[in-house]
């Protein structure tokens, strides 16, 4: 397909003729990433990364904080709607600015280099990489429970996590479409397991196992702050609804598929979360749900009998799929920032044969592997999680700003203005809420880290004080990995 060169392409060499130079006979193939993700692939990426292991292992934070079954189901639904609002806003942004890189590219377009750089810096160094590390560690920990270790087996767990990360890197480096197929497969497996849970729940509802739903608002928490905390918990379960925006350029027909996948993916997740929670409560009391360490497995033992063995496998599939999705999209911020000159340009090159963003994947992998080494990545994430909402909020604020700044641009998809406004307000609350709730000095450290990115921005990006040997390094890696620059090509 790449040989099919449009003669009148604006990038064609012929325009050079106007300069009077000799005609260039060798036309260079333009290297871009494959558009290998269709609608199904897109939904798989959203559903596959949003649904990790939480819904199978311990979906209890919400129930615990709301105090009643009825209220907890409402919180699950409301949080799903909030995530949907976010997904709608991102659909507008993604169809307006059809570049890969998600928040990074939208912040850059709206607010300029500094916010975009700080986002890329925080995301690449901490948020995305630690989330890959944590998902893989969760996978390894869950696998560890199949073996009779004495206490948490730290080293085997870390090695399994490392093996998973390397495996994912190999898959993603080999071919984008292989990675997309992997994603579809594992998402399918997890949806199958969830479908069994949902259908099982419906059957049990029909059989009359409804005791947990009578008087279901009894014991509801009346404290606004604990309901807010419950929402916060639930929103984390929905985190990942923005993932498709990182790979806009690899999406087939993004104008149609991005909004569709965003909306359908988040709706699907919302329905699944609510239904799975209902299903669990048909097989166990809410008190049992709160104390169970493996809710889906407990459910399976009671409802499926011997067939319950599929559920631990489903948990592993689900976690692996989430890790693959994170790896797939996680490397793209590095790629986009490299292409925009905010990170070494080498990171934006793509492998000319497999057309995968090899350098950015390797870079992400290395940082993720480093994340596994220290004792407790989880606490790192706890203190950076609020920064994610800073960026979500800023990105949706960028949407509002772009309504003015790019008022003449063609908008394929437009959300009602109240949605982004409401979303920004909620994001502000979600940033401030947990800090007010339990102020800790670590939040300040996290903020200092984010702003600390400027220490690199000014010398290396703004003043371009780069050592010359970088050229040699870039050349070396180009030859070594057979990677070439890739350009953003606006689709017509």
């Amino acid at each position: 397909m790449t040989e099919n060169v449009p003669k009148d392409s604006p990038n064609s060499t012929r325009k050079k003729k106007e300069n009077g130079g000799p005609e260039v006979a060798i036309v260079q193939e333009k290297i871009q990433m494959e558009k290998s993700v269709g609608l199904i692939g897109g939904i798989s990426i959203i559903v596959g990364t949003v649904i990790g292991s939480g819904i199978f292992i311990s979906p209890k934070g919400v129930l615990e904080k709301t105090g009643s079954v009825g209220l907890s189901l409402i919180v699950w639904t409301v949080s799903g709607i909030l995530a949907l609002m976010g997904a709608l806003c991102y659909a507008e942004l993604g169809t307006l600015i059809r570049k890969s890189g998600g928040e990074y590219i939208y912040l850059k377009t709206a607010f300029g280099d500094i916010p975009a750089f700080l986002y890329a810096w925080t995301s690449v160094i901490v948020i995305r990489t630690s989330s890959i590390a944590i998902i893989c560690l969760t996978f390894a920990e869950y696998m560890g429970t199949f073996f009779p270790f004495c206490g948490p087996a730290v080293i085997p767990t870390k090695l399994v996590a490392a093996a998973i990360i390397v495996t994912l890197m190999v898959i993603n480096c080999a071919s984008t479409s292989l990675a997309a197929k992997t994603q579809i497969f594992f998402t399918g497996a997890k949806l199958l397991a969830l479908a069994i849970i949902v259908v099982g729940g419906i059957v049990r509802l029909c059989q009359g196992h409804v005791t947990e739903f009578s008087d279901s608002f009894n014991g509801s928490s009346s404290s606004a702050s604990s309901i807010a905390l419950a929402c916060y918990d639930a929103l984390w379960a929905y985190d990942g609804w923005n993932n498709l925006n990182y790979i806009t350029e690899e999406l087939q027909d993004p104008k149609k598929n991005l909004p569709r996948a965003n909306i359908f993916g988040v709706l699907l997740v919302t329905v699944i979360y609510v239904m799975a929670n209902i299903s669990y409560l048909t097989a166990m009391t809410s008190a049992e749900l709160l104390t169970s360490d493996a809710v889906a497995v407990t459910w399976g033992e009671r409802v499926l009998g011997v067939a319950a063995i599929i559920l631990p496998l489903a948990v592993l599939c689900s976690t692996f799929g989430a890790a693959n999705g994170s790896m797939f999209t996680g490397g793209r911020v590095v790629y986009a920032a490299g292409r925009e000159g905010h990170l070494p340009e080498l990171l934006s090159f793509i492998q000319c044969k497999s057309r995968t963003p090899l350098p950015s994947l390797v870079f992400t992998t290395i940082i993720s592997l480093l994340m596994i080494i220290p004792g407790d990545v989880g606490s790192l994430v706890d203190f950076f999680s609020f920064t994610a909402w800073i960026f979500y909020g800023s990105t949706v604020a960028a949407l509002l700003f772009l309504r003015w700044k790019m008022r003449d641009a063609e908008r394929i998809f437009t959300v009602p203005i109240f949605i982004p406004i409401l979303f920004v307000l909620i994001a502000i609350y979600l940033v401030i809420g947990p800090i007010v709730d339990s102020p800790k000095i670590e939040f300040l450290y996290a903020l200092i880290f984010v702003v600390g990115g400027l220490v690199f921005y000014f010398p290396f990006v703004y003043f371009k004080l780069l050592p010359n040997c970088l050229d040699g390094v870039t050349t070396f890696f180009q030859l070594f990995w057979e990677i070439v620059p890739s350009a953003y090509e606006p689709d017509s």
């Binding site: 397909m1 099919n4 060169v5 449009p6 392409s9 990038n11 064609s12 060499t13 325009k15 050079k16 300069n19 130079g21 000799p22 005609e23 260039v24 006979a25 060798i26 036309v27 260079q28 193939e29 333009k30 290297i31 871009q32 494959e34 850059k108 073996f147 270790f149 004495c150 206490g151 948490p152 087996a153 730290v154 080293i155 085997p156 090695l159 399994v160 490392a162 093996a163 390397v166 190999v170 292409r339 925009e340 000159g341 340009e345 000319c352 371009k464 780069l466 050229d471 050349t475 180009q478 030859l479 070594f480 057979e482 990677i483 070439v484 620059p485 890739s486 350009a487 953003y488 017509s492």
Partner: protein, 653 residues
């Protein structure tokens, strides 16, 4: 799919005009860095002139250019090597994981723990516990009605004081296989036993093999047997003599020999009261009779026996005189039991053999494990011998050394007590701890500090072994005054007061509403029940009952149930130990037995202690439960015990 065409090559068609170079990649808006270097045609021009493009690769080269260079053998080989390294590394990683999974340490398997090791024992003096029928005596029905209370405190094993048909004294048994009418009847007993079993509780009975009451039919027949062929003739220890056969004394300081009223010139031996002749356990018939008694109760479903006075079972066959203990000295009062060395009447090795036989009888019985408990007031090595080796000893040889403890026993003293016991306990044997029984001054009267009592309770409940708790200590029962039985071996003794159920008449011991005519109680109530009773304290925060409940609950954690014990600190103030087991939470129990506050690190730099711990129990209720603390830095109030837990951390290879 769409694709564009880029002119990325710098190779001019005619080889002369390299400045036709155009690289849209680097003129892409936003890439300031690239622009700086590449959008200037001059710059490119210069570099390309100097280095013929076909020879040298350069930064940002396009696919054609790149492939021409990168397909050279050097790069191919380098790539192959690198790919091989990645693949080999990946395989090595997988192999390492598999290998680690195979060799990674598994938890050591815990020895199975039986019911009598899991639950602490609640010792009840039946006549004083609960009177259901108003006859003035505590009875089996009364006890049955209180099983839930006992169970709620975490005691699943109840040890009953003697309930056999007897005359006046607990030990003057006249029928080993019947219930004394003051306590109820046999159906009351089966009902108690069945109810207890249905509640997951266990009943242990006292067993009195050393003597019977002189009104026992065996003794009546033995005493009257002039016929040498009478098989009961030798059921007791008879000696034909003109005067007392030797200088042995009873524990009540009289001659241990009493002349028969019937058998001429015969004396019978009684190590206790005159009315309690000693059985002759050397007689195989007596042994058989006693085995039948045990079988009777075992068939009924009794879960074990507390063998009373087990050290007195045998006496010297040759009836040799005992000598005066040189350590006691003065020979002036030869009527003093304590003056003599009782090597011919006390603790003879035959007694241990007898216990071994009973043990094997119990072991042969199917169903739940049945246990033997024995008491021997002697030196610690002697006490330990009763544990035997393997299965030839008793399950619990009672540790009566804690009965001496009072508030003057500080950290060092406690440490010595615990260490004396733990260091001598034979391998594989199960320890036990007692702070009150029916022959010792009441805990509250002895110790007189509720803080110290809580500290002591914490110690006995959390050390390895089975604690035995004496009824009433949980409601701070005090000694009775006006008691009469101490010197004469009678029932009415100061530590056997009526249970404090509520603040009503006789502390709720009698249910006089449903029994309109209540008799007077057999022992006069003391007034301690007015301020301390079960009704008041059962649910009250900070009461000893509530505190015991938290201890018996904690005691069920694997680390306490079958974990290791390590003493980590002992000083004049604090005694501290660690309980832990593979894969389970670890616990530091640090108790200040001094009357001054103290703080510091009481972990003795034990290597498994973690930096983050959670308070499980604070006997002074200062730390809130679950409060996060550093186990290596604790502050202990006077007589304050604190339990801190931490999550298990696997030892790395």
């Amino acid at each position: 799919m769409s694709s564009g065409v880029y002119l990325l090559s710098t190779k001019p068609v005619d080889g002369k005009s390299p400045n036709v170079y155009d690289n849209p990649v680097f003129s892409n808006g936003g890439n300031a860095d690239a622009k700086a270097k590449f959008s200037s045609v001059d710059g490119i021009d210069l570099s390309l002139h100097e280095k013929p493009p076909s020879d040298k690769p350069f930064r940002g080269m396009g696919k054609e250019e790149l492939l021409r260079h990168s397909s050279k053998p050097f790069w191919r080989r380098l790539r192959m090597i690198c790919i091989s390294i990645v693949i080999l590394g990946w395989i090595a990683l997988i192999i390492t994981v598999v290998a680690l999974v195979l060799v990674y340490p598994r938890c050591r398997r815990a020895d199975p723990v039986s019911w009598w090791q899991k639950s602490p024992v609640y010792r009840v003096y039946v006549p004083s516990y609960m009177d259901s029928d108003g006859n003035g005596w505590g009875d089996l029905k009364g006890l049955e009605s209180k099983l839930d209370y006992i169970s709620s405190m975490g005691f699943k094993v109840i040890s009953l004081s003697p309930i056999y048909r007897a005359s006046n004294y607990d030990f003057s048994v006249t029928n080993h296989t019947d219930i004394d009418p003051v306590f109820g009847n046999m159906s009351d007993f089966t009902s108690l036993l069945n109810t207890a079993h249905s509640k997951g509780m266990y009943i242990v009975l006292d067993f009195i093999p050393n003597q019977t009451g002189y009104k026992h039919p065996w003794f009546t027949e033995s005493n009257a047997s002039h016929d040498k062929t009478n098989e009961k003739r030798n059921y007791y220890i008879w000696e034909s003599d003109d005067s007392v056969p030797n200088n042995w004394l009873s524990v009540y300081n009289e001659s241990a020999w009493e002349k028969s009223s019937d058998r001429e010139n015969f004396y019978y031996l009684h190590q206790f009261l005159k009315s309690q002749p000693d059985l002759n356990l050397r007689s195989s018939r007596v042994q058989e009779e006693l085995v039948n008694v045990l079988k009777f109760w075992l068939d009924m479903g009794v879960d074990g026996f507390f063998v009373r006075q087990s050290a007195y079972l045998f006496e010297d066959y040759d009836l040799r005189n005992e000598t005066i203990d040189p350590k006691v000295g003065s020979s002036s009062n030869t009527g003093d039991y304590n003056l003599f060395v009782h090597n011919y009447t006390f603790g003879l090795p035959e007694a241990k053999d007898m216990l071994a036989r009973w043990r094997s009888l119990l072991d042969e019985y199917n169903g739940t494990e049945r246990i033997l408990i024995a008491d021997i007031k002697s030196n610690i090595n002697h006490v330990m011998r009763y544990y035997g080796t393997g299965r030839d000893g008793v399950h619990l040889s009672l540790n009566q050394f804690f009965l001496e403890i009072n508030t003057s026993c500080d950290g060092n003293c406690i440490s010595e007590h615990v260490n004396n016991w733990m260091s001598r306990l034979p391998d594989g044997k199960w320890s036990n701890w007692i702070v009150g029984d029916e022959n010792t001054k009441r805990l509250t009267s002895r110790v007189n500090s509720t803080s110290y009592i809580r500290a002591l309770s914490m110690l006995m409940m959390l050390l390895p072994g089975t604690p035995l708790w004496y009824y009433g200590d949980e409601v701070n029962m005090i000694d009775n005054s006006n008691t009469t039985g101490v010197e004469s071996g009678g029932r009415n003794q100061l530590m056997r007061g009526l249970m404090y159920w509520n603040n009503g008449t006789s502390g709720g011991f009698q249910n006089c509403v449903s029994n309109s005519n209540c008799n007077g109680t057999w022992i006069s109530p003391n007034n301690g029940h007015i301020n301390n009773n079960v009704q008041m304290l059962n649910e009250s925060d900070g009461s000893l009952i509530t505190f015991l409940r938290s201890l018996t609950t904690l005691r069920q954690q694997p680390s306490f149930e079958h974990g290791y014990y390590t003493r980590v600190h002992s000083s004049a103030n604090v005694f501290a130990f660690i309980r832990e087991f593979d894969g389970e939470k670890g616990y530091l129990v640090a108790i200040n037995f001094a009357s001054s506050e103290v703080s510091g690190d009481f972990t003795g730099s034990h290597d498994t202690v973690q930096d983050k711990g959670a308070v499980e129990i604070d006997s002074e209720f200062i730390y809130s439960s679950e409060a996060e603390v550093d186990p290596k830095s604790l502050k202990l109030k006077p007589y304050n015990g604190i339990v801190v837990s931490w999550d298990y951390k696997a030892k790395e290879l």
